[in-house]
């Protein structure tokens, strides 16, 4: 039981964040997902099968919650989201993806682009603030960030064989 939680909780939590949950929601839905699975005596199968099953339950919890609150289910097409997660993130809860990203940040983008990303994600800087820091136009920052993310995506997907 503890092994199941320990092995898969990060993957489930990241998946829920990917589907649009905020961090608090992701905590709650992760807990609910495991409760649902554990209280009926889940028998673990392969890691991939278990991960996929947990994602299905998590997705279902999210859908039900959204529906109860009478809001649109999500801005994300969940079917397409699941397909992309399964294809790109794989069954290791994003671990391989993150490891590849750490390498790509060093090799696939220019230092200036890395600096822009660090300002955006680490410092929570606005585009205007990044523009001021890097002496760029705001539109230029947008382009720089988009290109950097594209380059990283290509690099990561190449590294993990997608």
């Amino acid at each position: 039981m503890a092994d199941l939680v320990r092995t898969h909780q990060a993957g489930v939590w990241r998946y829920l964040r990917f589907l649009g949950c905020d961090a608090g929601e992701a905590d709650d839905f992760t807990q609910e997902t495991f409760l649902v699975v554990l209280r009926d005596g889940f028998e673990q199968r392969s890691k991939a099968q278990t991960a996929a099953y947990l994602r299905t339950v998590a997705r279902n919890r999210l859908l039900m919650s959204r529906r109860r609150r009478k809001c649109r289910p999500a801005e994300v097409d969940l079917e397409a989201a699941e397909a992309v997660w399964a294809e790109v993130a794989g069954d290791d809860g994003l671990d391989g993806y993150l490891a590849a990203l750490a390498e790509c940040l060093q090799s696939a983008i220019a230092p200036r682009a890395r600096q822009a990303l660090e300002l955006q994600y680490r410092e929570r800087a606005s585009r205007a603030a990044i523009a001021a820091e890097l002496d760029l136009a705001v539109e230029g920052v947008k382009t720089l960030l988009r290109r950097a993310r594209d380059a990283l995506r290509q690099c990561v997907e190449r590294k993990i064989g997608r």
């Binding site: 939680v5 807990q31 028998e43 673990q44 279902n60 289910p73 097409d77 069954d91 990283l152």
Partner: protein, 731 residues
């Protein structure tokens, strides 16, 4: 289809990148919810009581319905039984009345019965399942399932797969629409998953409850023969300790296979049970991991790294590690490859962990093919067929489409498939490149050539023509591990077991060079022990790779291959001179001169006193026997000799590396040495080996955790998880 999905796919992939960047740069990390979840599981009143009530009500309903149906059947049967004599009597009288009627009338009456009324149209046999290779190539037709098999298989790769135990139900394509339109909670598959997803486990057989899942997850770890159920493993006996005075040479073939590790992982982590002891090949567990050995810097195909330290499971003994590192070939310098995917699409492959996973793995590999590479696809079931002729690697979409079309069904004529695959490989042979058949199967050959011996002879013969064979094993339940290992050995290839996309990625992407490019073949190791330093030794693992001492210099004797970038590790447990060697007890020899060497026969005396040893020892092809006064030679513990051939040559070369024991303690060794020792101890514990000494799961955990070192892919962390699981299962 993929083009129409391109914009949302890109957006979602970008969303995924955003999530990853938040974590990598922004410091957002998934919280550890373990305590919170486990506490909630303990505390929360089981709301499933209501569900159970409902389930019990349903059961009661069905029991009542069942009883009702049985009672009705009994009443109908009773009535029929009562009426039968009267019916028979009426029939007899009618028969007697009609006896005189003309035969023509009878024939006419028969002819009015529709011809199909009493016959079921018999489905075509598997022979019609695949057109001949000629037809397939010319018409580019899909592999068509036999009519009789159709219900057992999804109609196309786009159709919903059949629900399998252990596999989550697929998303309903209408899910989003239904959410907007229907006012009741829905599940991804209403028929399989109840409101919270709980019911799916019960109904799909994930839970251990008996039901339709049993056929898939039957508990038959060890089978009995080709075509019959159960995984099949050859019996393995641990190498015993040998006394150096009797056996100064130890010779074995290298082994870069990793299948046993992945298979053991499947038992422990997926099936939550200990593996059969014969499924545990310790050397394959050790060699699953990459060790940070430096590659060669000269023209030699591999570098060696030999070290000795205290043995962690028996403090008086020493542990010798022989590590080899194959030359690394960057992907852009990889020679052109002529590959034939030989894919088993028989009925036994119709399982989520077989054909779908196989297709995923082959697609991964196809995406790494370059313009100069070529790929052909041969499939076999009841008969063999060429699905894709040899195609340039740049035409990935064509290769991937061919893989997408594959469906499983029919019996398994693996022997015929191998013949066709080798023929296709020969037709597109690359003189300067890699020519390899990649056989992907569960090994359950049940039609045509099913004898392992015949298959091995066939493959061995083909390997001499320059086409090598690698085997990727899939699935469980009828995994023919022993046959697959043997044919990959004889086919100058390697054998890996693929139990997940992650493993497929490791074998086919991360270690692509090692899997495809052989840098040295027939690699043999011979260790000559110095009796002045060593009383006895035991080779850990490689139990089915042992060679006779004379095989070392015999270039006709086959041995293992090493691929680009591969690491190979072998461990010897050494009994130092002066210590007792636990060799099997044999009566003293009656006809040998006393005090003479009895090489080849076990000594009954255990360890000799080093001072009693003759000045010169007969040591096979040792270039210079140790001489008194030659301090450095006399101090050597052993000499490791390696023989190998270049992939396209038939004459071997030899390398020699002496080793002196500097008295290193186990704690002074590097992480790789310690981790390999922990894996070896883990293997011995799983095998319940009598040579495990003081090894315990706790000790293995302690060493493995402290020596996990740089573990970018999490493989070492996974081993630690396996050790924990094995420990729990043992308790």
């Amino acid at each position: 289809m993929s083009e129409s999905n391109q914009p949302p796919r890109d957006e979602l992939a970008d969303r995924l990148m955003d999530q990853a960047l938040r974590e990598t740069l922004g410091g957002e990390t998934p919280p550890d919810l373990s305590d919170r979840i486990l506490a909630a599981v303990e505390e929360k009143p089981r709301p499933s009581n209501q569900r159970k009530e409902r389930a019990m009500n349903r059961s009661r309903f069905w029991m009542k319905a069942g009883f009702g149906a049985v009672a009705a059947c009994l009443m109908v049967g009773f009535t029929i039984a009562m009426l039968m004599p009267a019916v028979e009597s009426t029939r007899d009288s009618a028969r007697r009345d009609n006896m005189g009627q003309a035969a023509g009338e009878i024939g006419a009456a028969e002819s009015q019965v529709p011809r199909s009324a009493g016959r079921n149209p018999r489905p075509d046999t598997d022979e019609s399942r695949y057109p001949t290779s000629h037809e397939l190539v010319e018409t580019e037709t899909e592999v068509t399932p036999a009519p009789g098999d159709a219900p057992a298989r999804p109609p196309s790769s786009d159709a919903k797969p059949p629900v399998r135990p252990g596999v989550p139900p697929p998303l309903d394509p209408q899910m989003k629409v239904e959410l907007h339109d229907i006012g009741t909670p829905i599940a991804p598959r209403g028929d399989m998953l109840d409101e919270a997803g709980e019911g799916w486990m019960e109904e799909s057989g994930v839970a251990s409850a008996p039901g339709k899942g049993e056929a898939m997850w039957h508990d038959d770890a060890e089978g009995v023969g080709p075509g019959r159920g159960g995984d099949q493993y050859n019996h393995l006996v641990d190498n015993p300790f040998k006394a150096v005075v009797d056996h100064p040479l130890s010779t074995f073939s290298i082994d870069v296979d990793t299948a046993s590790y992945a298979n053991v992982r499947r038992f422990l982590l997926s099936e939550n049970r200990l593996p059969p002891t014969d499924a545990v090949r310790v050397e394959e567990l050790i060699n699953y991991f990459d060790y940070d050995y430096a590659p060669p810097t000269d023209e030699t195909p591999f570098a060696s790294h030999i070290e000795v330290a205290e043995c962690p499971w028996r403090a008086k003994h020493r542990l010798v590690r022989i590590g080899l590192k194959g030359r690394v070939i960057p992907d852009d310098e990889r020679p052109a490859s002529n590959l034939v995917f030989l894919l088993d699409v028989s009925g036994s492959m119709d399982s989520p962990d077989k054909l779908p996973l196989l297709k995923e793995g082959m697609k991964m590999l196809a995406r790494r093919m370059r313009e100069q590479d070529r790929v052909a696809i041969v499939v076999y079931a009841g008969s063999e067929g060429l699905v894709l002729p040899s195609t340039p690697g740049s035409e990935r979409e064509q290769i991937i489409e061919a893989l997408d079309r594959l469906q499983a069904g029919g019996s398994t004529n693996g022997g015929a498939g191998i013949e066709l695959a080798y023929r296709i490989a020969q037709e597109s042979f690359l003189e300067e490149g890699v020519n390899r058949v990649l056989l992907c199967t569960d090994g359950d050959f049940n039609v045509g050539t099913t004898s392992t011996g015949d298959l091995v002879r066939n493959v061995e013969q083909k390997a001499t023509a320059g086409v090598f064979l690698s085997v990727l094993g899939f699935g469980r339940g009828n995994l023919n591990d022993s046959m697959m290992e043997e044919i990959s050995n004889k086919g100058n290839g390697n054998y890996a077991y693929i139990d997940s996309k992650r493993e497929a990625r490791k074998v086919l992407i991360d270690q692509l060079g090692g899997t495809l490019v052989t840098i040295a073949k027939d690699v043999k190791v011979q260790v000559e022990f110095n009796p002045r330093q060593v009383a006895g030794y035991r080779l850990i693992g490689y139990a089915n790779r042992l060679l006779a001492p004379e095989d070392f210099n015999d270039d006709t004797k086959d041995a293992g291959e090493i691929g680009a970038g591969h690491t190979v590790t072998a461990l010897y447990e050494i009994v130092p001179a002066g210590e007792e060697v636990a060799t099997p007890d044999v009566d003293p020899l009656k006809y040998q001169p006393s005090g003479g060497s009895t090489a080849g026969l076990p000594s009954s005396a255990g360890s000799p006193d080093p001072s009693d040893l003759p000045e010169e020892e007969e040591t096979g092809d040792s270039p210079s026997p140790p001489q008194a006064g030659e301090g450095s030679v006399m101090d050597e513990l052993l000499t490791v000799k390696l023989r190998y051939k270049q992939p396209d040559e038939d004459t071997s070369s030899k390398l020699e590396f002496p080793l002196v024991d500097a008295g290193q303690r186990f704690g002074q060794t590097d992480d790789d040495f310690q981790f390999a020792a922990a894996v070896a101890a883990f293997g011995m514990l799983l095998r319940d080996s009598k040579y495990k000494g003081d090894a315990t799961y706790d000790a293995v955990l302690e060493i493995a955790e402290s020596a996990a070192g740089n573990d970018p892919h999490g493989y070492r962390a996974e081993l630690i998880e396996m050790v924990r699981r094995a420990k729990a299962l043992t308790q």
